[in-house]
C-alpha cells in the first residue's frame, strides 16, 4: 500500500475522531475535570503547606499539572481504541482495502487535538489564577514542543494498552497502575527534596519529573539543559520501545 493511501485512510479515521469530539463536547469536561480538581485542591488546600505561599506554589505546580493532564487524556485514547477494536465496526474496516495501520494513525492523529487542548487549557487556567510566564518565544516554543513530544510518546503507551486489553475495565486498571506512580511518584506536586527519602530515587529518574522540571525551567526563565536532554531521551526511548510493541500487538490481534 502506497504511503499516500495510508495517509488518506489515517486522515479519514482521524476525521471520524474529530467529528465525534464535535458532537460530544462534554469530552472537554473529561479533559478538564482532573486538572481543575488538582489545581484547586493543591494550590488552595495544600499550597501554603507545601511552599508557604500559594502564589509561588502555583508557579511550581502548573507545568506539572499540564503533564498530568496529558496522562489523563491518554486514558481516553486507550479506552476509545479498545472499544473500537472490540466493536463490529473494526470488522468492517478490516474487510475493506485500507492500510492495517490506518486505525492506529487515525486515533493518534485524531486525539492529538485533545492533547493540545489539555495543555492550552491548563495553562489558561493557570494564567487566570496568576501563573506568570517569564520567557521569550523560543523557550515557550521549546516547552510546547517537549510536551507534545511527550504526549506522542504516552499516546503510544495508551495505544499498547488499548490494543492489548481484553476489556474496558482492564484498560482502566492498567492505565491507572501506570499513571499513579508516574504522576504521584514525581515532583509534580511536591519538590523532590521534600519527599520521603525512599521515594526520591524513583522520583529523580521518573520521566514526568524530568519533563516537569524542563518545562518549569523553560517557562520561568531558568532553563536547565540536563533535564531537557533527559526528558527528550525518555520520550525517544518510550517511542522506540513501545511503538513497535503496540504495532506488533495490534497486528496479532487484528
Amino acid at each position: 500500500m502506497s504511503p499516500a493511501r495510508v495517509v488518506r485512510h489515517g486522515a479519514a479515521l482521524a476525521w471520524r475522531n474529530l467529528v465525534k469530539f464535535r458532537h460530544t463536547p462534554d469530552q472537554l469536561l473529561d479533559i478538564m475535570l482532573m486538572p481543575v480538581t488538582f489545581v484547586v485542591m493543591f494550590v488552595f488546600l495544600f499550597g501554603n503547606a507545601v511552599s508557604g505561599d500559594w502564589h509561588a506554589y502555583l508557579q511550581f505546580v502548573i507545568p506539572g499539572i499540564a503533564v498530568q493532564a496529558l496522562m489523563f487524556v491518554s486514558l481516553g485514547t486507550a479506552l476509545s481504541l479498545n472499544t473500537d477494536i472490540r466493536n463490529g465496526i473494526y470488522d468492517r474496516f478490516r474487510s475493506m482495502p485500507i492500510a492495517r495501520s490506518a486505525p492506529l494513525i487515525g486515533h493518534i492523529l485524531g486525539d492529538s487535538v485533545k492533547y493540545v487542548l489539555a495543555i492550552v487549557l491548563v495553562f489558561a487556567l493557570g494564567l487566570v489564577l496568576g501563573f506568570r510566564i517569564d520567557a521569550e518565544a523560543p523557550a515557550i516554543a521549546a516547552a510546547a514542543g517537549l510536551m507534545l513530544a511527550f504526549a506522542f510518546a504516552i499516546c503510544w503507551i495508551a495505544t499498547l494498552i488499548g490494543v492489548a486489553a481484553r476489556s474496558a475495565e482492564t484498560v482502566q486498571a492498567l492505565s491507572l497502575v501506570l499513571i499513579f506512580p508516574l504522576t504521584f511518584g514525581s515532583n509534580i506536586f511536591v519538590p523532590t527534596g521534600k519527599l520521603p527519602g525512599w521515594l526520591q530515587a524513583w522520583v529523580k529518574i521518573n520521566p514526568v519529573t524530568q519533563l516537569s522540571d524542563a518545562i518549569r525551567g523553560l517557562l520561568l526563565g531558568t532553563p536547565a539543559y540536563a533535564t531537557i536532554a533527559r526528558s527528550l531521551l525518555w520520550t525517544a526511548g518510550i517511542v522506540v520501545v513501545v511503538a513497535p510493541l503496540a504495532v506488533f500487538t495490534y497486528r496479532r490481534r487484528a
Binding site: M1, R5, R8, H9, A11, A12, L13, W15, R16, V19, K20, H23, T24, N87, G88, I89, Y90, D91, R92, F93, R94, S95, M96, P97, I98, A102
Partner: protein
C-alpha cells in the same frame, strides 16, 4: 464467484467448521441456512478475510482469501451479524466515513451517501446521531454502509434479524435489485422464508458441515417429499376421512389429523396425482363432501426440521 473447498476452522476444542464446500456462481444469491452455532458466521468471517481457516481453501472472485486478502477486500462488502455502526456519528457521517475510506472523490461520496440514505428510507434521519436510531434503522444503515463501495460480492450475516416485516421486505427488494445489477450475494439466515424467497441456492449447514445443498425447490422435493391434505366440510367426518387417507397412503406417519385437517406424507416413489384421485374417489363413495384437498411440497420449515433432526439422531 465464491468457491469454498474443505474449509476447517477450530476454536481451541470447538470444531466450528468441519469441511465446508460451497460454490456460488457470479450474479446469484446463496443462502447459508442453519441453527445457532452451525458455523454460518465463521464461514462469512473467513470469506471476508477477518479470520484464517485452519485447512481448506476459499476463493472470492478468483482470489484466495488467505494469500491475497487485499485483492479480495477490493471486491467485497460486509454486513456482519452485529451492527457495525458508529453510534457517536450521524447516519450520514457513518456512510461518509466509509466513502472516505473507499477513497471516493468528495462529490461522488456526497452523492452516493445521499442516494443510499434515500434508498434505505433514512433520508429524514441522516443528520441524527446513530445512537438515537431504532434497531431496524441501525441495521439498514449497516447494510447501506456495506454497499458504499459498490462491491461485486456482498456478504450479509443475518441481514434482516430484528427488522419488522416491512423493513425486511425492503431489504429483500434491495437485495433482489442488487442481484439484478450483477452482484453476487452470500447471506446467512435463520428464516427459511427468507432463503426461499431470495436464494438461488441454499446450503443447509449444521455443526460445521453442509448437510444439504440445492435450489429451494430441490431441497423441498428431496427431503420432505409431498404432503396430501384433506379438509372435510363437516368436522364430524374427520375421523372417517382419516381412515380413508390412511388406507390409501399406507400406515406409518400418515393419517395425522390437526383439528379438521387430515394430512399424510406421500411415500417416496408413489404417484401423488394417482393417490390424490384415489382418495377423492373414495371420499365421494363414502359420501364425505370435501372442503379442501391437495398435494403440496413440504414447506422449507419441515425440510429444515427434518434435516437437523436427522443429524441429531445420526
Amino acid at each position: 464467484m465464491i468457491e469454498v473447498d474443505g474449509l476447517v476452522k477450530r476454536f481451541s476444542k470447538t470444531v466450528a467448521l468441519d469441511g465446508i464446500e460451497l460454490a456460488v456462481p457470479a450474479g446469484s444469491v446463496c443462502a447459508l441456512l442453519g441453527p445457532n452455532g452451525a458455523g454460518k458466521t465463521t464461514v462469512v468471517r473467513i470469506l471476508a478475510t477477518l479470520l484464517r481457516a485452519d485447512a481448506g481453501t476459499a476463493r472470492v472472485g478468483g482470489f484466495d482469501v488467505a494469500s491475497d486478502p487485499d485483492r479480495v477486500r477490493e471486491l467485497i462488502g460486509l454486513t456482519g451479524q452485529f451492527a457495525a455502526v458508529d453510534e457517536a456519528l450521524t447516519g450520514a457521517e457513518n456512510l461518509l466515513l466509509i466513502a472516505k475510506l473507499r477513497e471516493l472523490p468528495r462529490r461522488e461520496a456526497r452523492r452516493r451517501v445521499a442516494e443510499l440514505l434515500d434508498r434505505f428510507g433514512l433520508a429524514d434521519v441522516g443528520g441524527r446521531l446513530a445512537r438515537t436510531y431504532s434497531g431496524g434503522m441501525r441495521r439498514r444503515l449497516d447494510v447501506a454502509a456495506s454497499l458504499l463501495g459498490s462491491p461485486k460480492v456482498l456478504f450479509l450475516d443475518e441481514p434482516t434479524t430484528g427488522l419488522d416485516p416491512r423493513s425486511r421486505a425492503d431489504v429483500w427488494a434491495l437485495i433482489r435489485g442488487l442481484v439484478a445489477d450483477g452482484t453476487t450475494v452470500l447471506l446467512t439466515t435463520q428464516y427459511l422464508e427468507e432463503a426461499d424467497r431470495l436464494a438461488d441456492t441454499i446450503s443447509v449447514i449444521d455443526r460445521g458441515r453442509v448437510i444439504q445443498a440445492g435450489t429451494p425447490f430441490q431441497l423441498k422435493a428431496r427431503v420432505g417429499g409431498q404432503t396430501l391434505t384433506v379438509r372435510p366440510v363437516e368436522p364430524a367426518r374427520v375421523r372417517d376421512t382419516a381412515e380413508i387417507v390412511k388406507r390409501i397412503a399406507g400406515a406409518g406417519p400418515s393419517g395425522d389429523t390437526h383439528g379438521d385437517v387430515v394430512s399424510a406424507v406421500v411415500p417416496a416413489g408413489s404417484d401423488a396425482a394417482a393417490m390424490l384421485a384415489e382418495v377423492a374417489a373414495e371420499l365421494r363413495r363414502a359420501g364425505i363432501s370435501v372442503g379442501e384437498i391437495g398435494v403440496r411440497l413440504a414447506s422449507l420449515d419441515e425440510v429444515f426440521l427434518a434435516l437437523t433432526a436427522k443429524e441429531l439422531v445420526a
